[in-house]
């Protein structure tokens, strides 16, 4: 394991190149080895290929090598850390952030299948793999909430219902929008404009900005404090999965705009709605117990959005530029 940095150290580092050894460590680590991988390196790895995006078959082959068994995780030490080593303030802060992800994973799992219908055959392979990834991430959170947090229920929906009180009212912004955009795609699966709007919400905003930011906050806390090893392992492996999703999603958007430059208008219109909603928070979340301030989380969101747009070559209009500055962190991902 490399040197442990403070959770927010990465904010002042900026983009950096990973060594071949670091890339190999991330790409080839088995589940046990993932515990030794630095989350900052994995998030950097997400961006590594954004300028020259891999094709969908390459992403599918990576999936076959990197898939992991969620039932191999042992949450015994996490349960001890949660009950005996973490403070109540840390637990509440953690739940306020992780619960958005618990629900986000379920949402992105069930909203993705309709997108496959209008995709190329190679992209279908990648989407099928992504659906399996998202299902596995849903089980990961179900296990964490049952075995570590101690929520009880007969089935997955029971546990989702039990963690819902920690989910902010603004969650319905991006995830309700995704559900309704998925319904538009369901009705017209070959409507490329509807697909680009859907892809902007799913791949650029939810996965590229929200998910990576929220992952970073809880994982850097766990690594910094040396707590929750199974959570760190499973969620860092999840982040590695997300690197394929973000790269595939950015490739889809980039190809769509290259084929028809007017598609950038669909991206802008979708961002206009998303950024309108992202300027609002319904609850005050205390990040300090996890080593962050609200301003630092906002900066992290901003950096994640800028990097995706820059790397994929999407320019914002002046009104969208102004909206980016008022974004409030939404504690969710998928």
């Amino acid at each position: 394991m490399t040197e442990r940095k403070s959770p927010t150290a990465v904010l002042s580092e900026g983009p950096r190149a990973l060594s071949d050894e670091q890339v190999r460590e991330i790409e080839e680590a088995d589940l046990k080895g993932v515990l030794g991988v630095d989350i900052d390196d994995v998030i950097e790895y997400v961006h590594k290929d954004l300028k020259s995006l891999p094709d969908f078959t390459t992403l599918y082959r990576r999936y076959l090598k990197q898939r992991w068994d969620v039932y191999d995780l042992d949450f015994t030490q996490d349960k001890i850390d949660w009950a005996e080593r973490m403070t109540e303030a840390e637990r509440q802060s953690f739940l306020a952030i992780a619960s958005g992800f618990h629900h986000g994973e379920r949402q992105v799992e069930i909203e993705l299948p309709v997108f496959m219908i209008g995709a190329s055959e190679e992209e279908k392979l990648h989407i099928a793999a992504q659906i399996e990834d998202e299902a596995r991430h849903t089980v990961f959170f179900d296990r964490f909430y049952r075995e570590v947090v101690g929520l009880q229920g007969d089935d997955i929906m029971d546990i989702l219902d039990a963690s819902f009180p920690w989910v902010a009212e603004t969650f319905v912004g991006p995830f309700g929008l995704l559900a309704y955009q998925a319904d538009e795609v369901r009705k017209n699966p070959y409507d490329e404009r509807a697909r680009v709007r859907y892809g902007t919400t799913y791949f650029l905003w939810i996965e590229g900005v929200l998910a990576l930011s929220v992952m970073k906050v809880t994982l850097s806390y766990a690594r910094w404090r040396g707590f929750l090893p199974a959570y760190y392992t499973g969620f860092t492996a999840t982040c590695r999965d997300e690197s394929r999703h973000v790269q595939g999603g950015m490739k889809y958007l980039q190809d769509a705009v290259r084929k028809d430059p007017s598609m950038v208008n669909e991206i802008h219109e979708t961002l206009r709605t998303i950024l309108t909603l992202a300027g609002v928070a319904s609850r005050e979340v205390v990040y300090e117990p996890l080593g962050w301030t609200q301003e630092e989380v906002k900066l992290l969101f901003n950096q994640q959005l800028r990097r995706k747009l820059n790397d994929v070559g999407i320019r914002l209009t002046p009104d969208l530029e102004a909206m980016v500055g008022s974004v409030q962190p939404v504690l969710a991902g998928g």
Partner: protein, 157 residues
């Protein structure tokens, strides 16, 4: 006191009054002022109308599907009534929802998951424009769910 039947004109009048009154102080204290500032700003400029449908209303009250037609303007509700198929075409946004989900909303199921789990869906209208006011909509849906309604009387029909 007898509660108005679900999807009756009396119920629609009560819904209109509740929406015009807006969220109670109790509801407002649960969320940040920033959230309510956004709600109030959307409401002040809202000039759209909703046709909130019940796809499988039990027979005897209205033709199925029936719509709760809500019109907004000048920061308040300007019309709220039960309408049939022909009138829903005049609404900015047309929504579909099953009777069981309307009843669940009335029994306390939250508006946020009603949207997120697609229990209510936009059947007609611009989704991106609609979502710019989604927090306003979900709060209003919650208000509608809290208006007393007699579902038992409907079941008899």
């Amino acid at each position: 006191m007898t509660e108005p039947g679900f999807f009756s004109q009396e119920w629609a009048v009560a819904v209109g009054e509740a929406l015009a009154a807006g969220p109670t102080e109790g509801v407002r204290t649960d969320k940040l002022p920033m959230y309510w500032d956004f709600f109030d700003k959307v409401r002040a400029g809202y000039a759209s109308s909703w046709a909130l449908g019940c796809r499988d209303l039990p027979a005897g009250i209205a033709a199925t599907p029936a719509y709760l037609h809500v019109e907004w303007g000048g920061g308040t509700v300007t019309g709220c009534r039960i309408a049939g198929m022909d009138e829903q075409q005049k609404a900015t946004y047309v929504f579909g929802m099953d009777y069981a989900d309307w009843r669940a909303l009335h029994d306390g199921y939250d508006a946020q998951r009603t949207v997120m789990y697609r229990k209510i869906l936009v059947e007609e209208g611009n989704v991106l424009e609609f979502f710019k006011g989604i927090y306003f909509f979900t709060e209003c849906l919650g208000i509608i769910g809290r208006v007393p309604a007699d579902f038992a009387a409907l079941a008899v029909h």
